[in-house]
Symmetry: C2
Subunit: 476 residues, 2 copies
């Protein structure tokens, strides 16, 4: 992974910059010790590492504003970081940057059940947003696998999804407003606890902008009343094609389950070995979950099972208890960890039209064979958001590079069949250079001009999203 | 309604511009006859009228591109128009502009049931999108009242909603991609038949941008499988407060009806006089509709009726037949027309937090009394999207101005309680000058800088969205 050369003038001015930051923030909020900085040298894409010049942990929007004002004056790049769980290197520092962690901004500012929203500081973890309202029967819908750790700030940056987004939408569908610190330190409010306002939809623009436009410090989020119950059914098939057709037919029937998860044989076996979830040993497994009252669940699952039966499954198992539901989900939820038991892996995030599932799965198998690498498939089938897991050996010279090349081929395949490079993990540094597979030079130029408006000096989250060569003239 | 002075140099160059447009387009596609131009002098906000310099009716994306290239070279403003149903003057011409109507662009380009999308030319009417897929059991969800006439192009410009958007979302939630002609004639593709792609979300930015960023000529839209059935229940209350509380309680219970519509006594009586819908004569009426299989409908309506009964309603009437459902909806769907039988009216479009409904309804009554004008309320209660209808007499000198002033006061009230100026009708010319109630100077400046990126000459849809004084330096 090529990264831009650090700016020497910033590195030589390091002592002055650290001193200015120290003067502006409370004791302990500025970290410049090399050992302590190791915590921040990578995120969830741990193959790439680079410690920042220093890290700051502000405790309020005003402190974030002070940091941005100083960095803007000094022309210092700033890398915003939520909990550092990004799988695309969205929070990977550069050597000349200030790492701005929002983890201390984790409070609940307002809960309003009548209008179904919660306002939180953006460093709050995803799951603890639900934690703040579940005693009153509410929840926050987007549920990335990392929801125990990941921050709302990062969810907004990446427009994160999760298994249950088939029904409830991704972050942009559940975000009502933000408080954002602009590149020059100005604090702005965008959106609020109401429908889309007039004027240009800057909230939609900010969501998914990967820290390129500002630092989000507070968020107003839609909360939903928790459904009375939920129940999964597990369906095994001896063919990926048939499993894909079953998904299509459920969607076509107008049923919207909260989740349709897909696992292939490699990941089924890994999950079985890891947690003994009781999965059948078959080519493809679907976990389909519906939510609602008992009557609604019976009605929807009845129709889903009728459709599944018409596809000659090797097994259908409707959960009969909370314990059984948990066991069915356990294999899926720990699938990434289970694959990690086998080898190092790289998790991709391409999205494709659902009807292309059988073709894409077959091509992924062929591409993997060409590279001599195994690829497991476990993903959100209902909306075509794939997560191919490429297994490789980090200690074997050249294996990472092979996995990277295979990953790029798979993502190009996703674009070729009418899909896109990323469903929910973002571009980050990982997919930066293959953005050209999705966008022409004019498209990227327009996107960069929009960034120019918000961040004229290009100090926000450097070396992400835009190919280095394409953005070279703009980066300071 | 103040409008900018037409540019004299464009008006004197009119003959040359018309000639260039004629040379680029097929016979009959350029209209400059004063009588024929009267068709285009206003849209659904008929209080304001101004014929354009000329009108063009291109029949393809390439022809739209040719028009934009010429207008860009000549520095001529272009007013894009779908079907001209805008209630905010979104397609109101200026005297020096070319009116660009997309009505001839009405074809279906692709239907894909497996991936649940349809690709249409953007001049196609909303209802005929559903018309193209309903024989196969699908529909397009956003349903503005004007759906028989309004074009997808206008729906995208205004991010249109409708009665059923509580469950299915507004246009931005159902739009997957667009083909757009830029101000300089370049043709770009944004989005596609997949989840949100990487990079900045320009599709979200374009949706709701009121023709400020480009001319959308094709759209890829999400289609949904038609539910097995739908059934409304009508609930009458003798208090708006209690009706509002009932709405809150339904939402809080985690039930998502497809629609919760609210009518006050004035509109109930007007609807009764107009179509004899059989409504009770009471203070507030809710029409709550659910969709799904028979089992799901019974389950959801049962829970809704239990909640409604706890609020001491004066009447609860669950529809027992298709004919009865139609009659219940007829009064609501013709309510605007019914109000038009009483007097001229101005339809507002403010959005508020649902919990503020009782307070806002009371204040609207008080404000109406202060101005000596009646205000009817009929709106989408589930998402707080209000449509106060101000009755006035267009033939009575000063009455329109009084209605405008009352309308501005009501919209300011919406912003004050945490809402916004527009839910689904857009800013247009109507709300242009009160944008300052919602946005500070810096906010508007950022929005205008984003427009600068797409439309450096500011030729697209002049004198809309941004207050004239605020945008004065930018308009040519």
């Amino acid at each position: 992974m090529q990264m831009p050369e650090p700016r020497a003038d910033i590195l030589t001015g390091r002592a002055r910059i650290v001193e200015r930051l120290r003067a502006a923030l409370p004791p302990g909020a500025v970290i410049d010790d090399a050992i302590e900085l190791k915590v921040y040298e990578c995120d969830g894409l741990a193959a790439y590492r680079c410690p920042p010049m220093c890290a700051v942990l502000p405790g309020s929007t005003a402190e974030v504003s002070a940091v941005m004002r100083i960095c803007n004056e000094e022309g210092v790049p700033v890398v915003p970081r939520g909990s550092g769980t990004s799988l695309s290197g969205g929070a990977l520092p550069t050597a000349d940057s200030v790492l701005l962690g929002v983890a201390r901004l984790n409070g609940v500012l307002e809960v309003d059940y009548d209008n179904r929203f919660i306002r939180v500081e953006a460093g709050r973890t995803n799951l603890s947003v639900t934690g703040a309202v579940e005693q009153d029967g509410f929840f926050y819908a987007p549920d990335p696998s990392s929801q125990l750790a990941c921050a709302i700030a990062g969810n907004i940056a990446m427009n994160s999804g999760g298994a249950h987004c088939l029904k409830y939408g991704v972050t942009t569908n559940n975000l009502l407003g933000v408080t954002m610190v602009m590149a020059d330190g100005e604090v702005v409010e965008i959106g609020g606890a109401h429908l889309d306002a007039g004027g240009l939809d800057l909230l939609g623009l900010v969501c998914g902008s990967e820290g390129q436009l500002g630092v989000v410090t507070e968020a107003t989020l839609r909360i939903l009343a928790k459904p009375e119950g939920a129940r999964p059914v597990l369906v095994g098939f001896d063919s990926s094609e048939v499993a894909g057709q079953c998904v299509s037919d459920i969607i076509k029937a107008g049923i919207v389950p909260v989740a349709i998860e897909f696992m292939d044989r490699l990941t089924i076996r890994a999950a079985e070995a890891h947690v003994a979830a009781g999965y059948p040993d078959c080519e493809a497994l679907l976990i389909i979950e519906v939510e609602g009252s008992a009557g609604e669940i019976d009605d929807q699952l009845g129709r889903i099972i009728a459709i599944a039966k018409a596809h000659d499954p090797v097994e259908i198992r409707e959960s009969g208890s909370a314990a059984e539901s948990e066991r069915i989900w356990k294999g899926r939820k720990t699938a990434f960890g289970a694959m990690g038991q086998i080898n190092d892996y790289m998790c991709l995030d391409g999205t494709i039209p659902v009807s292309e599932l059988p073709f894409v799965l077959r091509r992924i198998g062929e591409l993997g064979a060409e590279y001599g690498l195994d690829v497991g498939n476990v993903f959100h089938a209902g909306d075509g958001n794939m997560h191919p897991l490429i297994l490789y050996d980090a200690n074997k010279p050249g294996d990472l590079e092979k996995a990277e090349a295979l990953g790029a081929d798979i993502l190009r395949l996703c674009v070729e069949v009418g899909g896109c490079l990323t469903g929910e993990h973002g571009v980050g540094v990982e997919k930066r250079e293959i953005m050209t597979a999705q966008y022409g030079a004019d498209d990227l130029e327009i996107q960069m001009q929009v960034k120019d408006v918000f961040d004229p000096q290009w100090i926000l989250n450097p070396a992400k999203v835009f190919p280095l060569e394409v953005s070279a003239g703009r980066r300071s």
